[in-house]
Amino acid sequence: MSLTESLQTTPLDVAHRALGGRMVEFAGYSMPVQYKGIIAESRAVREGAGMFDVSHMARLKFTGEGTLAFLEHATANDVAKLGDHQGQYSLLPNATGGTVDDIIVYRYSADEYRMVVNAANHAKDVAHIRTLLPAGVTMADYTAETAMVAVQGPKAAGIVASLSDRSAEAEALPFFGTIDLKVAGVECYAARSGYTGEDGFELQCPAAEAGRLWQALLDAGVEPCGLGSRDTLRVEAGLPLYGHELTDDLSPIAAGLGWVVSKTKAFLGSEPINAARAGGTPTKLQGVRLESKRVAQPGSKVSVDGRAVGEVSSGVYSPLLDCGVAFAFLDPGVKVETPCTVDFRGKAEPGQVVGKRFFKRG
């Protein structure tokens, strides 16, 4: 998309500009890539609490007779395992064993399920889901009337709980649990989840009240963070990004997401995915840790003993490890701890193949 086309804005656009956010185009939206700086914002999330405007991600609601059966067919994880007010990471598979999107599915109640999907795939997902939607199940897209803020970091859950009307219950909420919560007086649908490897909440609220919620979190000392640090933090935490580690043509098994895929149910694309699980995939996602601080670009070749063994899918500078780290799809035979090099415009930078999870909260 070119910048001359008009970009969508989130309900927090005014707040981003007031804070000096550097705005860039992302998935058709004008979004802050950073405020103070990517390194400072990454550190704030690892050490205290940071918040991200993720209002651009799309929010869908499913109701009606047969919703559970429909979701079991359309998504890869076991939806029946969810109790009320629980969520799960999942995938929208296609019929050929690739991934339409990675998503979160929430069971709000037996009669209502919700889904959060990637902004870049919003239109594609809605069109794909419509082809699968049976009579009797209603899909409502409530993205535009709501905002979503992810509050992340070791202090995040405590801050959200302290601003809320149900602080003890919020504090005690398990990972991927959800709760209806007033935060600073704003009605929120709160999920104990995120995309940074840290504890925290993802808060959905009415669009018109997003500014008030954001300001209350700012006043409580939460650092505003942009898409740049979000990308850094998700790579450090070993989390995939659609378009990089997941695509329509790649098996989620290659990306190491077999744990998200049900072993017991049949669903759209279950046969090719199960075949990939049993027979292996041509490449496998691994981590690469560089000796230098350089940021590997997607598509850069990775070599072992001068032989090309795959290519980078995502790369960032990790403030935590003070070096460049990357994800790369490599020949399945390449083991962790193997010394490797990554090509930077003709210069081979030394590194090592490592596990995908560069950071795990102890």
């Binding site: 950073q34 700086g37 990517i38 350089r294 940021v295």
Partner: protein
């Protein structure tokens, strides 16, 4: 943004300080701010001869990679080795400790044709 009056500038956001027949070259405060946190600087080997507007290296930030161009022609006589271990000097002090290279210029008068501080400031304001 800081635009020191005594320096000369380019449209591609390099600065130049002329002392005798040698210029020190770096990137401007505006450039480092636009790039964000800088993690790697690729610089030429001393002895290399550069034409005007020739790319002599690159600056990598956590967001992007950007080539840097020689504002004037000459021979590289020194590179800022400190940037190898401390690329963040470029963010902290782009006009002092974060300089990139020193070049012995073929024609010191060529510096006069570069942008003045006022011209460069006007470019940033446009």
């Amino acid at each position: 943004m800081n635009v020191p009056a005594e320096l000369r500038y380019t449209k591609t956001h390099e600065w130049v300080r002329l002392e005798g027949d040698t210029v020190t070259i770096g990137i401007t405060d505006h450039a480092q701010s636009e790039l964000g946190d800088i993690v790697f600087v690729d610089l030429p080997t001393p002895g290399r001869s550069l034409g005007q507007d020739e790319s002599f290296g690159s600056v990598e930030s956590v967001k992007t990679v950007s080539d840097v161009y020689a504002p004037v022609a000459g021979e590289v006589v020194e590179v800022n080795e400190a940037l190898g271990g401390q690329s963040e000097l470029l963010n902290a002090a782009p006009y002092e400790a974060g300089w990139l290279i020193k070049v012995k210029v073929s024609d010191p008068a060529a510096v006069d044709s570069l942008l003045s501080a006022a011209d460069y400031q006007a470019l940033l304001d446009a």
